[in-house]
């Protein structure tokens, strides 16, 4: 037994830090309704700030701590509250996007402010040890951390349980309007909750960085460990979240004892993600989302023009019905086709190395398209889409590379491997939606990253595997131009297929499952099949993108498909416009621009600009396209000649004639209005 104690102690030590993080995450979720994906980034930002104050500027802890906890953390908390205030009551999708945007923004800001190199943070407690019993030693830092964590956790619990702040919090969450009426200031409560939450993050940052290293990515990842305990507490129970974190810490630590023995190698790193995925599936329907969103995304209400009488409308619908889908050779399809035709000639104008970047942009656009269909159309949030790219790249890479198989066979197998994985990621969507689905997909991405892609026999280890350029029926696509044309054609075919599907029965099916799943199911839609098929198909197409990714790079490594690449994909798709095919293309283009050899001094601002753009456009399903459209309309209005002032105070557009008026106008009794 005694051999386990050191691992239990270490587990309690790290677990108690995760416990703080879990409580911080739960706190904002239960008080503000925001699940903070950026929590680790906030902890990281605070840890870097502390490093600057303490280690770099040489301030003593007695000065640096108060600055961090009483100045920096509150300011950040106030800023976050102000950011989220206008988003209250919006769909989980918007809140997730904003929170991932904040994560990216902080991740981009820290290297700009503090520089890129890794550093170590001095521990705040002495690292010397004392003997406990005869067999093992406990570090003062471990003991100190455990004591502080328990004390602070108990304090927060007591604060919420036994003070006026606690009752106000509950009131403000349960019924904001009513709370306002009885004198609870919702804004104050929410601001306090944010400040407390950031303080917890700061504590997590400075407690954990000395052992985990102070690094932009590491801390973000470590804090995701706390998501499983937070879910264990159903995102509302602080004590359960804390206890869950302690248990998780001990389990991971005990597993690390066997970490070096073969089959379970590296498994302990994935345990928190496996736990997250399993908890979400097991707890399923019992998980409720806070602040059930009453407000909706701005519904794009571009109805067809009301021209023509009922007879004309009827005739048009008949034509449309017979043709199968609205063969709207509208501006977007026309523009797309013209753009495609022009894009075919790009190799004539662009030098080789840049052509590779553009091909990457096209392939990225193909992957982005799967997220448009999945998230923008079907309303299923996925934070794991790049895992499928990885599956495709490695599967096809092995087959066409070391096994020397035909490229097309490799593509086919890669897509077939991706399909069941797509169904696996889709499984949580049968019982979960919104936030919990996003968390489940995030867990899946992390599991793939840590358990599958890290295996030497899958990915070839750190050096990766080499992939040959494709040969199809004697045609060789080894040249840059030919590979570009192939990728472009594949993208074009998929995009046109998506466009056609969007306007036909399948597009309608996706839309109704998104608008009202209950109504759809009572009409006869099998939600299970619909969702799983969408996840599977999107996974397959992403894997198709992966096969090109590998062929293009001529090598793939595990680093190409790290979990965070899926988050970046989501950000770029939101930026481009998550409900539009052109949005996927814009996402690809932005990705392509990022690959260009721009000086680092300029390039470092790029991710920040993207993150801020995403935060600003999170509520806009058509992203930058909507922005561009709005701006264009404004310019057109400004340029239009002034209308002559009419006598009656300007003419209103007679659009407001409401449905009731329309009924009154055209109503003979309804029962007799049928018949051809």
């Amino acid at each position: 037994m005694s051999q386990y104690w050191p691992f239990i102690i270490i587990g309690l030590f790290t677990g108690s830090i995760y416990g703080l993080a879990a409580m911080g995450v739960v706190l904002t979720y239960k008080t503000v309704g925001v699940f903070n994906f950026a929590y680790g980034a906030i902890a990281m930002f605070c840890a870097f700030t502390y490093w600057q104050l303490h280690d770099s500027w040489g301030l003593t802890a007695w000065v640096a701590m108060p600055i961090l906890f009483l100045v920096v953390a509150p300011l950040l908390g106030v800023a976050l509250e102000a950011l989220y205030r206008p988003l209250a009551g919006l769909s989980a999708e918007v809140l997730i996007v904003v929170s991932v945007g904040v994560l990216a923004a902080l991740g981009a800001v820290v290297p700009i402010i503090y520089g890129k190199q890794d550093r170590t943070l001095q521990p705040i407690f002495p690292t010397s040890t004392f003997a406990l019993g005869s067999h093992f030693h406990v570090g003062y830092d471990q003991l100190g951390t455990l004591v502080i964590s328990l004390a602070v956790a108990a304090l927060l619990w007591a604060l919420l349980r036994h003070t006026r702040f606690g009752t106000s919090t509950r009131a403000a969450v349960d019924n904001p309007d009513l709370a306002d009426m009885v004198g609870v200031h919702g804004d104050n409560v929410r601001r306090s909750a944010w400040i407390l939450s950031v303080m917890f993050a700061a504590l997590v940052g400075i407690l954990i960085s000395p052992t985990q290293g102070l690094d932009v990515n590491q801390l973000v990842l470590v804090v995701i460990y706390a998501f499983a305990p937070a879910v264990f507490g159903r995102l509302v129970s602080l004590p359960l979240a804390y206890i869950g974190a302690l248990v998780l810490g001990v389990v991971v630590s005990l597993l690390s004892k066997y970490a070096n023995s073969g089959t379970v190698a590296n498994l302990e790193a994935a345990v928190p993600y496996l736990a997250l995925f399993a908890l979400l599936i097991i707890m399923g329907g019992r998980l409720k989302e806070a602040g059930a969103s009453s407000r909706r995304l701005s519904v794009s209400t571009r109805s067809g023009g009301g021209s023509g009488g009922a007879g004309a409308v009827r005739a048009r619908h008949w034509v449309v019905g017979v043709l199968g889908w609205r063969l709207r050779l509208d501006r977007s399809l026309a523009l797309g086709l013209v753009g495609f035709a022009l894009a075919l000639f790009i190799p004539l104008a662009v030098p080789g190395p840049r052509l590779i970047d553009i091909t990457f942009a096209v392939v990225y656009g193909l992957v982005a398209l799967t997220l448009v269909v999945l998230t923008g159309w079907a309303g299923q949030i996925s934070l794991a889409q790049f895992a499928f790219v990885g599956v495709g790249a490695f599967t096809a890479g092995h087959l066409s590379g070391s096994h020397g198989q035909h490229f097309l066979l490799a593509v086919l197998v890669a897509m077939l491997v991706a399909a069941p994985l797509g169904i696996l990621v889709g499984l949580p969507s049968l019982r979960l939606s919104g936030l919990y689905l996003a968390l489940a997909t995030l867990a899946f991405a992390l599991i793939m990253d840590n358990v599958v892609f890290n295996r030497g026999d899958v990915s070839g280890g750190l050096t990766g595997i080499t992939v040959p350029r494709p040969k199809i029926f004697g045609l060789s696509f080894t040249g840059r131009a030919s590979l570009y044309e192939l990728a472009l054609v594949v993208f074009g075919v998929v995009a046109v297929a998506a466009y056609a599907i969007r306007l036909g029965p399948i597009g309608r099916r996706l839309q109704i499952v998104r608008d009202s799943p209950l109504a759809a199911s009572t009409l006869g839609v099998n939600l299970t099949v619909t969702k799983l098929v969408v996840f599977a198909v999107c996974g397959m197409v992403a894997a198709l993108g992966g096969t090109f990714y590998g062929a293009l790079q001529q090598a793939v490594t595990p680093f190409d498909f790290m979990w965070s690449t899926s988050l970046t994909l989501l950000l770029l798709v939101v930026l481009g416009g998550r409900s539009l095919i052109s949005g996927a293309l814009i996402a690809g283009a932005v990705y392509g621009v990022e690959q260009l050899p721009i000086p680092a001094s300029v390039n470092q601002y790029f991710p920040l600009a993207i993150a801020l753009g995403v935060i600003a456009l999170a509520q806009e399903p058509e992203g930058t396209v909507a922005l561009a459209r709005r701006e264009a309309r404004r310019v057109m209005t400004v340029l239009r000649p002034l209308p002559r002032r009419s006598v009656g105070g300007g003419h209103q557009i007679p659009m407001t004639s409401g449905p009731d008026v329309a009924v009154a106008a055209g109503s003979s009794p309804m029962g007799s209005g049928h018949g051809h």
Binding site: V322, R509, Q511, D515, L518, D660, G671
Partner: protein
């Protein structure tokens, strides 16, 4: 067959449905039958369990106990979509329109959802015909291209009814179809309901007109169209019978007076 009201098997029958939520008993041994070609009313004060009953009948909620039979099959374990495909259609008390589709596409999507293979483009001609028929029956052509999300409640209820009719239902469950309708709309609506159950207008000969079970607070509408009523209060059946019998029932008066005095 089903058009004959004297048919002994009801289209839909619920037997001893009990539904508990923790300590709360939402439905307590409730049974009811919906005969073919009839409009049956399910009434009762707010919170009596009417919508829960609909959820049980359509499979959205699984009852603690009890069984549901439909056209001779025990469908208690059927998922909602299977019941929908078999011909049980419903509308929702709180509108559940496909708000980002046009009115016409709401109906089209409904037809496609309820007919096998339609999502892959099968039977398009039938779809066009049926959707046009329902659009006409409910006078929806003037708003055909409007987004469903921007309609008034009254029109929205018509779209939900149209959506339900497009599934070619054998039984139609209407959850407070009259709320949010003005007097003219209500009058037109009861005419539509009668048309639906009597001959259904230019219906396909192979589709029998549906029976209707409706939850409704508008007593004038209920008394006007329903041939029999079941009254729920606190999850229990407190009365059954023809509208006039129910109107005279002492229990019903007590329940409704209690309800009215609270308002």
């Amino acid at each position: 067959m089903a058009t004959e009201t004297g048919w002994e098997e009801p289209v839909l029958r619920a037997t001893d449905i009990t539904m508990r939520f923790g300590g709360l008993i939402a439905l307590d041994d409730v049974s009811l039958e919906v005969p073919a070609g009839r409009i049956v009313g399910l009434i009762g004060p707010n919170g009596a369990g009417k919508t829960t009953m609909f959820n049980v009948l359509t499979g959205l909620q699984e009852p603690t106990r009890g069984r549901v039979d439909y056209l001779g099959d025990n469908i208690s374990r059927w998922p909602p979509h299977r019941r929908g495909r078999a011909g049980i259609a419903r509308t929702f008390q709180r509108l559940a329109l496909f708000s980002r589709l046009s009115v016409h596409d709401n109906l089209v999507a409904s037809w496609e959802s309820s007919h096998p293979g339609a999502v892959l483009g099968r039977n398009r001609a039938k779809r066009i015909e049926r959707v046009a028929e329902v659009m006409g029956l409910l006078d929806l052509w003037p708003v055909a291209d409007r987004m469903a999300g921007e309609l008034s409640t009254g029109k929205g209820r018509m779209v939900e009814l149209g959506r339900a009719l497009c599934t070619d239902p054998r039984v139609l469950l209407l959850d407070e179809p009259g709320s949010g309708l003005d007097a003219n709309e209500t009058a037109a609506f009861s005419a539509v309901l009668r048309a639906v159950v009597s001959d259904g207008g230019d219906r396909h000969p192979d589709v029998a007109p549906p029976a209707i079970l409706m939850v409704e607070h508008d007593m004038a509408l209920v008394m006007d169209v329903c041939s029999s009523l079941t009254v729920l209060d606190f999850g229990r059946v407190i009365a059954r019978g023809t509208p006039s019998q129910v109107r005279a029932d002492a229990n019903v008066r007590a329940a409704y007076l209690g309800d009215a005095s609270a308002v």
